[in-house]
């Protein structure tokens, strides 16, 4: 998180961050036989973004540690997902290590059996540092990485919780308290909404597919469960209808016109240009919000957990993992790389850079790592969200179809369509797709 210029405090914090790396990082690398696979070259297929970039940036440190050379291919998210799936289907992927988007690919990868089982590796002291334990990963991370038998098929790497961003200045001006429930949030949004002056109470994703990551925060807090015990989809039930009504209320009454076409980028622009009082989205946007070159609200934004709904308080979580192709002939070397990627050193860098949140509790709970994070309010919202996090999308193969079809229904409600009718219509289309995918 870049605040205004390098102040004395920032320099001190930077120094602390550096010492944190020294304290929490490399000593942990002492135990396994790091150099055993020296001379090997492995290929990694990563997603372009703060996480993929971080691994690429520090790859030479890994090579110094292990003698393993890494050739990484870093490509945009959508293309990387396509490439990974197509290559894995061919049976001869060009990569050993693959970046997995859990919330979209978990079930698909598991069903196809594309990833190597890492359970054995994790128990091998020659391969695994003692601090890397299964129980160090948060429950959400394990839900993503383990299959039904409890085998680890990837290492949970970074999680994206949804949080509430709010403009403190606007709240203070009208003397409104930070909302703790959805009803309070809707009421606050209505009070803060001032379209005549170009100010809107709330902003968020309305665009089909993208909107589902926001919508599920409502769904979960209205008591929704994606699947019943038999695997039937339940996102058109009474909870979903009530959740959609709240979503519809916020995004039609108090959001900027045109919100039906907003993805995170447009939503963030409204917030950073001082046109929106509240925004619910992933935790990763603090760096641009606090960047004086891109934002007019530097230092004015508060960070807190998603407000509670009538049936609970959850933060929808989406996550990335890192795994190894089953067909790879260099699994051990690749495993060392995956382990390094989720290590304390790299996790601390990820958190302190604001690019993501590690799944490992030992990193989040480490005082020195925490002190290295410049924006403590943001960090508090992350830690509080971790405690109430729940998977943000159903674990099924056709996640993309789900997001497109139900997402289109949710978008349609922004033009005034009835939530119950739209959801019913979307599920009539979606159910056969789900059945077909589970059958094959």
């Amino acid at each position: 998180m870049a605040f205004n210029g390098p102040t004395r405090r920032a320099v001190l914090q930077g120094a602390l961050a550096t010492s944190a790396l020294g304290l929490t990082g490399f000593p942990a690398f002492a135990d396994p036989a790091w150099k055993k696979y020296a001379g090997t070259t492995i290929e990694a297929n990563l997603i372009k973004g703060p996480r993929g970039d971080l691994l690429q940036k520090y790859a030479s440190e890994f090579t110094d540690l292990t003698g393993i050379k890494v050739e990484s291919e870093v490509i945009p998210e959508q293309q990387q997902r396509q490439k990974a799936v197509i290559e894995l289907t061919s049976g001869k992927p060009s990569f050993d290590v693959v970046h997995v988007s859990y919330h979209v690919q978990k079930r698909q990868f598991e069903k196809a059996g594309w990833l190597a089982d890492l359970t054995g590796f994790m128990k091998d002291p020659n391969l695994t540092a003692p601090d890397l334990r299964v129980d160090d990963f948060s429950a959400g991370g394990l839900q993503f990485a383990q299959n039904e038998k409890g085998e680890m098929h990837s290492l949970p790497w970074s999680v994206d919780y949804f949080i509430l961003y709010y403009n403190k200045e606007m709240f203070a001006k009208k003397g409104i308290a930070v909302p703790k429930t959805f009803d309070e949030m809707a009421a606050a949004a209505e009070k803060l909404n001032d379209p005549a002056n170009g100010i809107y109470g709330f902003t968020g994703r309305g665009l089909r597919n993208a909107n589902m990551t926001l919508w599920t925060n409502f769904f979960l807090n209205y008591g929704g469960e994606f699947l019943d015990a038999k695997g039937n989809i339940q996102t058109d039930g009474p909870e979903a209808i009530e959740a959609t009504k709240m979503y519809q209320r916020l995004l039609t009454k108090t959001a900027p016109p045109g919100v039906a076409g907003f993805n995170w980028m447009e939503s963030m622009a409204t917030l950073t240009q001082g046109r929106a009082a509240m925004w619910i989205d992933g935790v990763g946007w603090a760096p641009p919000i606090e960047d004086p070159n891109a934002s007019r609200v530097v230092g004015k934004i508060g960070y807190t957990v998603v407000p509670a709904g009538p049936k609970g308080q959850y933060s929808a979580a989406y996550g990335d993992g890192i795994g190894i192709a089953k067909t790879s002939t260099k699994k051990e070397a690749a495993y060392l790389y995956c382990q390094w990627a989720v290590s304390k050193t790299m996790g601390a860098r990820l958190l302190q850079g604001g690019g993501g949140v590690p799944f490992r509790n030992s990193i989040l709970n480490d005082e020195t790592v925490r002190k290295g994070v410049k924006n403590q309010e943001w960090l508090d919202s992350v830690i509080a969200s971790a405690k109430i996090s729940k998977l943000g999308l159903p674990v099924i193969v056709p996640v993309a179809e789900f997001r497109d079809l139900v997402g289109a229904a949710v978008t349609a409600t922004l033009s005034g369509a009835d939530p119950a009718t739209e959801l019913k219509k979307a599920h009539e289309q979606f159910r056969p797709i789900l059945e077909r995918s589970e059958k094959t």
Binding site: I86, T89, P257, T411
Partner: protein, 312 residues
Amino acid sequence: MSELTAGRTSAVEKEAAKKKEWRPISYWPFIVPAMVVVLAVIIFPWAYTIWMSLHEWKVGSPPTFVGLANYLRLPTDARFVESVWHTLVYTALSVALPLILGTLAAVIFNTKFPLRGFFRGLFILPMMATPVAIALVWTMMFHPQLGILNYLLSMVGLPPSLWVFHPATAIPSLVLVETWQWTPLVMLIVLGGLTAIPSEPYESAQIDGATPWQTFRYISLPMIMPFLFIAAMIRMIDAVKSFDIIFAITQGGPGSASETINLYLYSVAFVYYDVGYASAIVVVFFALIIALAGALLHLRQRTHWNDAGGSA
């Protein structure tokens, strides 16, 4: 001896005759490479696509033969039916608008005025830009609160529009980008046609006291008709398969308001990995393009090149 000679001669003749017989076959080496290429890059992919369209085939699981089930699914698939309609509307608008504006621009640039060359150069600039790059710029311009378009509307006292952020205006807004980029191409083609028209008909028209509109309607327009058809054909093929601009600006949204066949096809094939069904869509899409091109060609045959130049 003579018998022997005679025998030898006939053998030589026979050989010569044989060579003669083989001669026509020598063109094969020239044809085979082309045939191999056509077979490999056109016929095989087509046959394979049709084969795939007859299978239920999700990437990651083996294909199962389902006959025409994928095709029968198409008319019941609301998203597909809607996407066909969107494609037709999008194509009709993005052929008609550049055609009208391009012709108008060509007529203007065909008259003599100062700095004509400079303005002509300026006018064709949009054509040179990369579609994805300009699409991203337009996305920012379309932003309902922060975009420059609504600011410009407010300057002249017009109410703001939601552009690509509202289902009803999404397609027209996308067509605006398409028109901005491709009007220059139509202008160039039509301008070529206009400069080829001899000056005599205009002189006679002037003597007969024709108004500028009459001159355009009864002399220029019929003579540039063949050029307009070419421009329409190029625009039609381009618009029907348009992907980059729509994908970069709306991704088919809001909802599915601007989802054309091509965008839906992309989702089915590369996001849902439903290869069998996607192949069926491709086959139908191809048939649609052929039908549209065929209809245009049919119309084109009714106009004649010699209308333009008098000879040819």
